[in-house]
Symmetry: C2
């Protein structure tokens, strides 16, 4: 049985223990304005105190208004929110790349989609190293992956899947929302339809299956054949993101 | 006993098997001009054929001459070598970041050092997705990590440690050189003193211990106290790069 109070206390203790044992100071969280990063920010603010939390918004060819929901979260919990607009870096990268010769933009669709989360990962770590130097103590990068996304491989290798500490990895989307309700994450953030800001589609459109169906499947409940097949296909197709093949010597 | 012929055959078979089973096409390898990427390029050229190998040089505030050794490798094995100069992207990123306010450059030393391998990782994947679209078959990103570097954690999380397939992970530096000799990697590349191109120090200077000592330690041989202590400290300090702490639910 999912006991939201017990889990929140467990997470807070888990964070505090790890920080104490490893003599760490703060955390950097990329704040998208969606529920996962909102809930992670709420949890770390509770565990470490708002003064040790740095949120980062990282627009990239996105209007300024997209940061409004991130600001709601930062104001609610009182932590510092900085903005690193990656538009110029993204464009400069594409310009650098274009020098390899004649490139058909149609062949760059997947390249571009996944470049953004990788630049955001690099930014989170850049900010964390900067704050570690500035504040004289180690800042970690927090992950915002939840169990549902992980199960179907809905993340970018070297992007949103690269972080130093994860707290939502064992909770499905519905449970993340329950945690968010308990911690009073702003409703606009918590109940927003998730989209990846990469492809202008919602997560569920892109996955071809509903999060509620993924949760039901993971819980061993019955789901429609079509959904089950899709989930199993996604899960199998994601195996390469978890198990990197490595050659082992003969002797 | 290390049997170089047997290991090379083993690696080639390992690569071919994985590619056949997963219906993959090609590989992207970041070519630094050092031995690890040279040996990896030699192995993949042998396993997949030079026509399915793409090498990438990624200078970043580095003179053009730094690409000469990478060109030696590409010419030796006949694969395509493209150049993505990341200087403009790196500078644009720093400019984007500077807008957070007054930043003392002294506090950006570690940020800058690790940004480069992360941009290179992102570039490898950008190139791989592009070639996958261009050639109509999946290109993987090859890792160039060796056992010695891995043991002491000499890599950047989300940088050179993020890849799709690894072939040198189980060989120490000396064995990598033996494999390189067997595959006739150009001597200038194979015997170059390794440095990270990030901090203008050699790897061994930066590590504070010699690769030969790390190999001896890993082989259970005697090493001087000072070296042993340093190796054990590095190894323990690297644990967080391998084991990401993740909260597990109560029930």
């Amino acid at each position: 049985m999912f006991d939201v109070k017990k889990e929140v206390e467990g997470i807070v203790e888990f964070i505090r223990d790890y920080y104490e044992k490893n003599h760490l100071k703060g955390v950097v969280i990329g704040i998208s304005g969606g529920k996962d990063s909102g809930v992670v920010a709420a949890l770390f603010s509770k565990a470490l105190g708002k003064e040790n939390v740095v949120g980062v918004t990282m627009p990239c060819h996105t209007p300024d208004s997209c940061r409004d929901d991130a600001k709601l979260v930062a104001e609610k919990y009182g932590f510092e929110l900085i903005n690193v607009d990656l538009t110029a870096a993204f464009d400069a990268f594409k310009e650098d790349f274009s020098k390899i010769g004649s490139v058909d933009p149609a062949n760059l669709k997947n390249s571009d989609i996944n470049l953004k989360p990788r630049l955001r990962m690099a930014t989170n770590y850049y900010v964390a190293a900067y704050y570690s130097a500035l504040k004289g103590g180690t800042y970690l990068v927090a992950g915002t992956s939840n169990k549902s996304e992980l199960f179907v491989g809905y993340f970018t290798k070297g992007g949103d899947s690269t972080y130093d500490i994860g707290v939502l990895n064992d909770f499905n989307v519905e449970e993340v929302i329950r945690i968010g309700e308990y911690l009073e994450v702003p409703e606009k953030v918590l109940y927003k339809t998730p989209n990846d800001d990469l492809s202008s589609m919602t997560d569920e459109d892109k996955l071809g299956v509903k999060y509620s169906e993924i949760a039901a499947y993971m819980n061993g409940e019955n789901v429609e054949d079509k959904a089950r097949e899709r989930i199993e296909k996604l899960h199998a197709g994601a195996a390469h993101k978890f198990h990197i093949p490595v050659y082992r010597r003969c002797a």
